[in-house]
C-alpha cells in the first residue's frame, strides 16, 4: 500500500455536545466547530480548498442540508461534496477527505460531521426504515442484548457483568476529563454493584447505563497535503491508512452467528498491509466506536485479534485506562457523546488530537507514535484508521 502523497490532520474542532441545543440551528452549531477547527489549524476559511460535509439527512428531515449549511460551513463558492453513507458517516467523511488530499486534487480539505438528534426522532427513523418485511415489526432500534447474553454464556455471569460495568465506569472517568463530552455522570467505582442491579434493563442484560447517549453536536477536521500541513502545523497527525469493510446486514439485525466479522476482517487486513505484528504493543492509543459497554468490551477482542479472555483481562487490569498500557477512548467514547453523524469522526479527531498532543486534560501521559480509530455503522460496517506521529511515507 502506498499513497500518492502524505496527508496530515492539522485542525480539529468540536461544538459543545448536548441534548439541548435549542439555542442554535444546524448551520450555527456547525459554525462553532468550523471556527474552532480553523483556529486550531491557524488558518482562515480562505485557506480551505474543498469542503466535505455529511450526516444522515433523514434523521433530521432536512433536504440537502449541505446547501443550507453553507452559512456555517464556509462552503460559499467552494468545491463541496456531501457524504450520506448513513452507516458511520463520520468515518466515511474522513476517508473521503483523505482521498481528496492524497489524490492531489486538493491541498486543504475541511470535513464536517454533525447531528441534531433533538430535531429528529432517530429511534423512530431507524425503526421505520428497517426492512418492512422482516424487521419493522420486530425492530427495537439499535438495541440488542445478544452480545451480553453470549459473553455471559462464555465467561460466566459475574465476570462478564463486572467487566462491562468496569469498562463503563472507566469511560465515564475519561469523559469527566473531557469538558466537551455530553454525559459526564461522575460515576464512582463503588457504584458498580449498584448499577449492575439498579440501572434499568433495556434488553436482557443490556441496561440503560451501558448504552450510548443521544447528542447534538458537530465535529470538524482539516486535512492537508504534506507541504501545507508542515506549513501550518508543528505536529500534524499523519493519516497512514484506513480500511472500510462491509458485510450484508444479514438475517435481520444480528443473526445468531459470530456477529461482527467485519471488525476482525478490517483489523487483519489493515495490520497486515501496514506491518503491524503486535497491535497491542505497536498502537499507543485506540479511539473505538463503542455504542455500549458490552460491545466496547467484546469488540476489543475483535480489533486486537484475540481469541480467549485477554480483552477481559485488559479491562480487569486497568490496561485500557487513560494512563494504562493500551488506553481506549480517553475522550469518554461514544457512550459519553453520540452525535451520530459526527460520532465516528470524533473518534478519528480524538485519536489525531492525542498525536498532536492537543487533547488537553484527557491527553494520555505518554508519547503517541501510532493511534488507531474505528467507526461502526449500519450494524455491519467497519472503518478502521491508523494515524502516526512520524510522516509515514
Amino acid at each position: 500500500m502506498n499513497k500518492n502523497r502524505n496527508v496530515g490532520i492539522i485542525g480539529v474542532g468540536q461544538s459543545e455536545f448536548s441534548s439541548h441545543r435549542e439555542d442554535v440551528n444546524q448551520p450555527e452549531m456547525i459554525h462553532e466547530a468550523v471556527v474552532e477547527a480553523l483556529n486550531h489549524a491557524g488558518m482562515t476559511i480562505d485557506d480551505v480548498d474543498c469542503i466535505v460535509h455529511g450526516n444522515m439527512e433523514l434523521f433530521e428531515m432536512i433536504h440537502q442540508p449541505d446547501l443550507w449549511h453553507v452559512l456555517g460551513s464556509g462552503a460559499y463558492g467552494k468545491e463541496t461534496m456531501r457524504v450520506t453513507t448513513g452507516g458511520t458517516t463520520g468515518a466515511t467523511l474522513c476517508c473521503a477527505a483523505d482521498h481528496l488530499v492524497a489524490s492531489g486534487l486538493h491541498d486543504v480539505v475541511l470535513a464536517i460531521g454533525f447531528e441534531k438528534l433533538q430535531e429528529g426522532h432517530t429511534t423512530g427513523g431507524i425503526t421505520n426504515m428497517a426492512d418492512p418485511l422482516w424487521a419493522r415489526q420486530l425492530q427495537t432500534g439499535a438495541l440488542t442484548g445478544m452480545t451480553a447474553e453470549q459473553m455471559i454464556n462464555e465467561f460466566g455471569e459475574d465476570r462478564a457483568k463486572r467487566a462491562s460495568m468496569k469498562y463503563r465506569i472507566m469511560m465515564d472517568r475519561h469523559a469527566m476529563k473531557n469538558h466537551k463530552a455530553h454525559r459526564r455522570f461522575d460515576l464512582q467505582w463503588d457504584q458498580a454493584e449498584d448499577l449492575m442491579v439498579n440501572s434499568p434493563a433495556l434488553v436482557g442484560e443490556l441496561r440503560m447505563i451501558h448504552m450510548c447517549s443521544q447528542s447534538d453536536g458537530a465535529c470538524v477536521m482539516i486535512f492537508a497535503s504534506e507541504e501545507k500541513a508542515k506549513q501550518f502545523c508543528k505536529q500534524p497527525a499523519w493519516m497512514k491508512d484506513h480500511i472500510t469493510v462491509h458485510r450484508e446486514e444479514c438475517f435481520h439485525i444480528f443473526g445468531d452467528a459470530p456477529v461482527l466479522m467485519s471488525h476482525r476482517y478490517a483489523a487483519e487486513k489493515l495490520f497486515e498491509r501496514n506491518g503491524v505484528k503486535d497491535p497491542k504493543k505497536e498502537i499507543d492509543v485506540f479511539e473505538m466506536y463503542d455504542p455500549s459497554s458490552w460491545w466496547g468490551l467484546d469488540w476489543l477482542r475483535e480489533f486486537l485479534l484475540f481469541d480467549g479472555d485477554e480483552h477481559l483481562k485488559m479491562v480487569e487490569n486497568d490496561e485500557i485506562a487513560i494512563d494504562g498500557e493500551f488506553p481506549i477512548n480517553p475522550s469518554g467514547g461514544v457512550i459519553a457523546s453520540n452525535p451520530i453523524g459526527a460520532t465516528a469522526m470524533v473518534r478519528v479527531a480524538e485519536a489525531a488530537l492525542q498525536i498532536m498532543e492537543d487533547a488537553g486534560e484527557h491527553q494520555v501521559p505518554k508519547t503517541v507514535n501510532q493511534a488507531m480509530a474505528s467507526g461502526f455503522g449500519g450494524t455491519m460496517w467497519t472503518v478502521l484508521f491508523l494515524m502516526t506521529r512520524d510522516i509515514p511515507w
Binding site: P27, T44, L58, L71, E119, H121, G124
Partner: protein
Amino acid sequence: MSKPSPDSFVIDGKLALPYQYFAGRTGSRFLISIRDEKKIKGLKCEKCNKVFVPPRQTCERCFADISENWVELENAGTVTGFTIIRYAEPHQPFKPPYILAQIQLDGADTSLTHIVKGVALSQMKTGIRVQAKFAKNPTNSIMDIDHFRPVKPKFELGYSYDDLEIGMSASFTKTITESDVYQFAGISGDFNPMHLNEEFAKMTPFGTRIAHGALPQSLIAPVLGMKLPGLGTVIPEITVRFRKPTYFGDTVTATAEVVEFIEDRRWVKLELTWTNQRDELVAEGHAIAIPPTPMG
C-alpha cells in the same frame, strides 16, 4: 425485462418521521421581532456591507460572525422575481393560484421569499413595490408576515419615455366665453380694447371682439401636463403659429400627438393643433416634452 415471478408481490408501508426544528437564538429573535413588534430585522456584515434577511449568524461571503449586528429594515421592498403557484398541495399556506415572490426589502441585500397578494396574476411584474402585512394570529414562523401587498403610489405618473408610442394623441376642449376673456385680461394685464371694447373692435379687421391668442393656446397645458405624457412631464419648449382668431363663444379643441422620439435625451416631440367647432385650424405648433421617469 425478466419475466415477473408469480411469487413476487408488493407490500404497502408508511414511514412516519416526526421532527422539530429549532430556530436558534438568531432565528428566534428575527421571528419574535416580527411577531411582537411587527418589525423585520436583518443582520449586517460590516465588512462586506451586506444585510441578510432572513438573518444569518455568519456572513456567507467572509464567514464573519455577525450575530449581534441587527439592523431594522423598512417593511417594504421591491419584487425582484416571482412565480405563480398553480398546483394544490396540502402544506401550502394559501389556496392556489397565488404569487410567490422574491422581495428585496429596502435596506437589505438579499431577497426574502414570500407571498404577494392584492395584485392580479396577469398584472404581476418584477420591480413593483410591496409592503408587508402581518398575520393576526402568530404561528412563530415566517408566516407571521401574512403576505406582501403592492404599495399604492400617491399619484399615478404619466407615460414614461418607454411607454410612449408615435401616434399617441390626446386633447382638451373648452368653450371660450366673454368672462374667460375678461379674466384672462386681468391675469395677463392685456387690456387691449380689441379684446374688451366692442365699439373699438368693430374698427378692427375682425369686426368684433376676439379672445387673446394666448387664451386658446393655454388649453394645450392640461393636455401635455395631465394627459400626454401626463403628470410629471416637463415642457421645455412650445412653438405656435396662430391661424384664425377665436371669437367669443367658440369651442376650441387643443390636441397633442407624439411625432418623434429624441433618442439621445429620451425626450419626445409632439405636434400641436388647435381647432374650433367649425373645424378651422385656429393654431398649430409643436412641443418638446420630457416625460416623467417612473418612481422607483
